[in-house]
Amino acid sequence: MKVKINGLDMEVKSDSILELLKELGIDAQRVVVEVNLEIVRRDRFAEYKIKEGDSIEIVNFVGGG
């Protein structure tokens, strides 16, 4: 399935957010996910289904002032 993740066009196998994070090797506890500008709560990662063409943002905290 073709989706956009953090601005990059990608082909992914997973169909839920939780699986997608596993596929990408990302710790689900450390990130916040937004799909098509809507925040997906962490407790919904497993049930939330990704669709073709979704624009997904995966963010975390970095050093800042």
């Binding site: 990302i26 450390r30 995966i58 975390n60 905290f61 970095v62 050093g63 800042g64 002032g65």
Partner: protein, 257 residues
């Protein structure tokens, strides 16, 4: 010294607050933060690097159980962007606080106060503890309080400039006009700048570049920690009024004839 700063029932033990940007690596960040004695650190919200997963996570070095995490909305130029970053930050589930930045100009990074007021109002209604980064204008500070800010964070000088407290008189007027905590954010270059802000009566000072950009960040963090304590104590002790002429410290009485 037990002299905590309280903002919306959150107790801050340290009046020196520090940022975590611009460090060489996370290890240096952790050592400088530790040396500063700060119990609150600012962080930014950014995309995870999905290509290079070898990159470590800041929170592996800055333990959220030990430090209060204050996410910022740095880099946001519109109200909508700032709201989006603030909401993403809160969703991380470790803090309802946000250091709200709505920037109005790339070169000076001065705040867009119209946007800042609007974003403060919206986020305060959503239950955020909003700490807006603002300019040193007392009227704007007052408006931010009316809009629901939990404290105000006037700049001493442009972010990263190291110019110090350029307008101490305005900061003093803000302190008189605003009944909430006032935290100087941005502009500090060295220890004396922190002391000046604290001597004026500011409740805290937030520093990033002055520490991260110093030749020895850990030593500078230690210096600023002491400068902050010194300035706070001097403020509480109550300084003498300034006079134009001398008044002798030694008695006139008992002088030889």
């Amino acid at each position: 010294m037990n002299d905590p700063l309280i903002i919306r029932e959150i107790e801050f033990k340290s009046r020196l607050w520090v940022g975590t940007g611009k460090y060489k690596d996370f290890e240096e960040t952790a050592r400088a933060v530790e040396a500063s004695g700060a119990d609150v650190v600012t962080v930014a919200v950014r995309r995870v690097n999905i290509i290079d997963r070898s990159k470590e996570n800041l929170l592996d070095y800055i333990d959220p159980k030990k430090y209060k995490i204050l996410p910022n909305t740095a880099g946001c130029y519109t109200v909508e962007e700032a709201l989006r970053y603030a909401r993403l930050a809160r969703e991380a589930g470790i803090s309802d606080m946000v250091k709200l930045e709505v920037i109005g100009d790339e070169k000076t990074l001065f705040p867009d106060v119209c946007g800042l007021l609007k974003a403060t109002e919206i986020l305060a209604k959503e239950g955020f503890i909003v700490l807006p980064y603002t300019n040193d204008d007392p009227v704007t500070a007052k408006r931010l309080v009316d809009a629901g800010a939990a404290a105000v964070m006037p700049l001493g000088a442009p972010i990263g400039s190291g110019l110090g407290i350029r307008n101490p008189y305005n900061i003093k007027i803000i302190l008189e006009m605003v009944k909430l905590p006032v935290i100087v954010d941005a502009g500090v270059g060295t220890a004396s700048d922190v002391s000046i802000a604290m001597e004026l009566g500011c409740d805290a000072v937030l520093v990033n570049t002055a520490i991260a950009g110093a030749k020895d960040p850990v030593m500078m963090a230690t210096a600023l920690k002491h400068a902050c304590i010194a300035g706070r104590l001097a403020y509480k002790a109550g300084r003498i009024p300034k006079k134009l002429y001398a008044s002798a410290s030694s008695p006139i009485e008992g002088m030889l004839s």
